[in-house]
Symmetry: D2
Subunit: 210 residues, 4 copies
């Protein structure tokens, strides 16, 4: 079999392993954070560097489709984070300097809730976050050094498919999370309508009106 | 099983189906286009809208790591396309207006080579491209209308996992393509060193020096 | 005097000429559109290509600081335009294909209000817009061809300071517009508080609390 | 006179004052750094946060038109900085955390040359840079706190035209710098052709062929 297909199978297998490792409690708490935030007009901010950041943007786009007030850190019209807002910080290694810096300010100076999506719950990001969701895929050897520092020095992740597995896993996980949010908010459609100023998003989507 | 895991399994299954459908001839020609372009100092441009655009960027980032001169249409320092350059146009439906417009100018006015990555070889993008690579995942019902027009009108793709499958498939495909490029250029390391002004990318990567 | 200073003086003189040419009626109507839109929970969208697009983003950032719900066309979390929303389309020549395409969909398919900011009220963009504000600076010779087409072909604007004057003028104009909006909404602070769900932006800014 | 015009006149006056304060020695050294870098195939990287970052991108776009190999920190295909590359760091206050962090890694870990464009040569950025060019406009009161931290906390610059003056000044300065670079490289056209692999940029531009 050609290399391209072998690599695609490894990506498949990695997502499959990732599903096995998804911790239901971690997911439950994340879903509740997001639904509670939505009911209370809190906003969601997404941050990540490099390819993890691109996967975060793909997630932010879907949240926006669902009716969330969501922003990507660093884009033009991203407002100030407020107390109680949710910051989704994506970093396979949990050591990405820019993501860590942003998360610290959001949590310590402002009182936002930081959710870390990382392969390493014991990483600096994992330790400082209010809530950690483990998504496997980043291998131990990538963990040591910092992204910004590595980017500047040209020390990229290995270019074999393995270097790529965290990003594929996190995209599949976040798309699964969107499906879960749709189902959960569907059950509570009425509550959402009562509690939220702009019910046109999720609710209209579920009614098939979007 | 919870919705999140079900959705992740559907994504897995979709990538698996996509592998079955990968056409070896289409891939061979794409790989040769990219390697020939690289040897002859041609540049690669990537274009796509919405989430397909984000997957295109993730691919561009890896090509850059490999040593390619690659640009994303619409970013700040993207230069003019020149004759013989390669434009990778990503659109599940093959009808995205912005992607079509860019591809037409690149091909008809400048003489660049347009590669369409789409679920529909008979779409407007598929028909006008110099080379088509079929990546399954976009369902027929999404094909009718145009992205820019849909975005403006708020008619997003369905939010069920199904709406998401083209993007997961195309990310896995493009990561597989990177693995294939690495292997192929590894075989021809010496030729590349002779023909290319900046051999530090692919070659150094393969020597484990990057 | 050295070239750098001469060029800066030309930019200064160009902004000064631009002020002479600002049409008070055009500005009044734009200010009213923006304030009415804000009172009625309409959103503002900004579009522009190349350097004009960057100036548009600098304006969008300030509108966001003022409390507007504002989006940049093409960024990750930009939602669908809705009827009655305002699209600020910035193009010196008034012929930029991408800006024209976006403006047509917004106006004709959705019923948004299109405001053209251009040097040429008789350009295609000027003619199709609901409201035109003339900002001088783009010279006649730049008007003929289309941006996307020119970018693809590498026909950039001349690199002498003259090529740059529309962008400097439009930045000064839009910053002046922000000052005007602040003064105008200051006068009507109470009305704004009554009519708007989130008065914390403009009002808090004017109270010096931001 | 209406507020919009008053604000535009303040911007004009600010640019005019800025011209008075331009230090010829600082400019000479910057121009030489850029021309030497170009001759020796060094790349230019641009970094800045918020509106300063947008002005930096407008400058990067012009440098690209001139034929420079230039990148914006944070965009998709930005490669690793290498020893001897030039980092243009734009920060009115000279305290922007993200800009400082990037500059430190570039200088201390990689050996790139950092050029600070700031209102405050004694700021942290000014002190650590290899070369400082002072562009007036940022008032003392803005200097205390950090941008990322301020953005997170919602403490934006004042919205009066004064808050805006550094950005207008720096845009005019950088456009003037482009004019200067064109004139200087015109004088040395032959040398450039001999020393640079891709003379098509500056040289063709000066011949009126672009």
């Amino acid at each position: 079999m050609r290399t391209l297909k072998k690599a695609m199978f490894e990506i498949c297998k990695s997502i499959s392993d990732c599903i096995e490792n998804v911790n239901d409690e971690e997911v439950n708490r994340l879903v509740e954070l997001l639904i509670d935030g939505w009911k209370n007009n809190k906003r969601v901010f997404v941050t990540g560097a490099g390819r993890s950041g691109l996967m975060g943007r793909a997630f932010a786009m879907r949240l926006m489709h669902l009716g969330y007030e969501v922003f990507v850190v660093g884009e033009t019209i991203t407002p100030a984070v407020r107390k109680g807002d949710i910051l989704i910080a994506i970093s396979g290694s949990g050591t990405t300097k820019l993501v860590l810096e942003t998360s610290k300010i959001a949590k310590e100076e402002i009182g936002a809730k930081v959710v870390a999506i990382t392969s390493y719950p014991d990483s600096p990001l994992g330790k400082m976050a209010d809530h950690v969701v483990v998504v496997k895929g980043r291998t131990k050897s990538d963990v040591e050094s910092d992204y910004l520092s590595r980017q500047m020095r040209g020390e990229h992740s290995p270019l074999t498919p393995l270097g790529t597995l965290f990003e594929s896993n996190v995209l599949a996980f976040l798309d699964g999370l969107i499906a879960e949010l749709m189902e959960r908010t569907g059950k509570k459609e009425k509550d959402l309508e009562q509690n939220h100023a702009k019910p046109d998003g999720v609710v209209a989507a579920l009614k098939g009106e979007e």
